[in-house]
Symmetry: C2
Subunit: 320 residues, 2 copies
């Protein structure tokens, strides 16, 4: 269970406090996580969490009146999410989404994709990459890159927006690193929601928020290490195409908005990537929610989430 | 002693890690703070901490070749800190500083004032307001306001920059709230370093960083409650001129840069004030240092501090 004191409650909305009060962690996450996230138990984990989220996804599809079609791009399945009303200024734009879920679960029709389609009035191309442990690094990244390569061929890059949440942000950043290497164009803007840029596990918030966030660090770590990371014990977790904090960046990197919260295990990852981009001369903005957790902005009706999404839309679309 | 794990160390500079490893907290801060910060012991606290800092202040005065004169403005003592070289674009500008120190200690020649004068090449007017417990709220704020009122009479407000650190930020914000009430002009830009905008003690970081920061929350709290806050037990800590988070803001508020760190007890205060200004239509930027503590940016040679100060200068002076 996540602890929340009266002084912490006083600083957030009642809706956010109620959400946190309902969080139940697995007992003894530090000890049990390697078991819960072992490869043989991932299908069960997907089912339990997937079912809960599926109901919310259905709600959002109705709420925003979205139509969903499935296609393949570069032989990779892609879900195209189209809002009933497309904003006139977004008519020729697309938003590429890479979903999150610790590399082991998740779906291209995750709330992030649905909410962005509905609230921004934009077509979302959400890539259905392969999950772990069925495949391991770098398969998912290479699938995402294959789709990106094709999309920049058929769309004006000035009309391409890109996003990813958590592990989806990791995959999106490394996709763009591969694109840059191949001299492909960058998207117009990039949105990284609670990104995981350093899979070594370093960072202040990985300690301070380890058991305060809705996702215990031990569980996420076990997911990545046991299922996604190469089985080779010599594999370097600082490989810049695995942990993109360790890549180098320059001013050609697209303007990037990064979101997190003070309770988020990924706060340090967000902060460190912000300074990395800024130091490289790229334009970056960091948005931090008070008392907010990993991926809070996809809770559609929480006031802090609404404010954050508004700020993200402003960054992405206010000048065009 | 402040705890720092290998994973936290890996994400910050070796200089920052060494700094944190040298921090010693009072034993049992929760229990002993009311004693340590009792009014009769404040002179002793000032002496102990003041002596340590005085040596650094001397160093900085030499390093930046600063000349210091003392004057009075509106009958309040003000220290004018003048760098050897004034940047040509800053010739007619002044930076008003209100020093920090939990309302009970500190000096107008604090490092913040000296470093800003030296690094920005700008004249700093640092207000020597009265400390608590000798006087209590609202004396210090009213002294700062008297100086501000006079300074906007004799200087073009477009050339006035304003800053404050920690409790100094509280006093600066409330000074500007009084100025707005009297229809006085706002400064061109505002810099709030690790501001304390909510003296009720609410906020996520007031719990999560309570004993991780260089200043334990219990000690700061005891300083404020026992020395600065009105003795009246009915006094409302949400008084907007005492805890300026509870004031209302609008788009006429000056563009404001706010700094903090993930280990800072004031992180939530900084975050909440950022959203408050943004929601009011004012321009705000939040800068957060990975693993950084309360006021880290005044450690002159720590790489994270250098980067942060560069970003602050960019916000304050890049367009004029």
């Amino acid at each position: 269970m996540v602890i929340i004191t009266p002084g912490q409650k006083a600083a957030i909305s009642s809706q956010a406090a109620a959400y946190l009060e309902n969080i139940r962690h697995p007992p003894l996450p530090g000890l049990l996580s390697p078991f819960i996230a072992s490869p043989s138990r991932i299908p069960n984990l997907r089912l339990t969490i997937g079912q809960k989220l599926a109901a919310l996804e259905e709600e959002h599809i109705k709420r925003y009146n979205l139509s969903i079609t499935e296609t393949t791009i570069a032989d990779i399945p892609v879900m195209v999410i189209e809002p009933h009303v497309i904003a006139p200024s977004n008519e020729s734009k697309i938003l590429i989404n890479i979903f999150g879920g610790g590399f082991v679960m998740g779906t291209p029709r995750e709330r992030a994709a649905l909410i962005m389609a509905g609230e921004c009035g934009i077509r979302v191309y959400s890539i259905k990459y392969s999950l772990s442990p069925e495949v391991r690094y770098p398969i998912a990244r290479d699938e995402c890159f294959a789709v990106y390569r094709k999309l920049v061929e058929i769309h004006d890059p000035a009309n391409i927006y890109a996003m990813g949440s958590s592990s989806g942000a990791t995959l999106m950043i490394t996709t763009l690193l591969l694109a840059r290497k191949d001299k492909l164009p960058m998207p117009a803007r990039l949105f990284l929601c609670t990104p995981a840029v350093d899979l070594t596990g370093a960072g202040d918030s990985m300690v301070s928020n380890a058991n305060r966030d809705i996702m215990p660090v031990a569980l996420l770590s076990a997911m990545v290490r046991q299922n996604y990371a190469p089985a080779d014990p010599e594999f370097d977790f600082k490989d810049p195409l695995f942990s993109p904090l360790f890549a180098s960046y320059d001013a050609t990197w697209p303007p990037t908005v990064i979101t997190s919260g003070t309770r988020d295990i990924s706060l340090s990852s967000a902060v460190r990537f912000y300074w990395k981009l800024r130091g490289a001369g790229a334009k970056a903005e960091l948005l931090v929610g008070e008392g907010m957790w990993h991926g809070f902005n996809w809770e559609v009706d929480i006031p802090e989430s609404i404010a954050l999404r508004g700020a993200v839309r402003e960054f992405l679309f206010s000048d065009n």
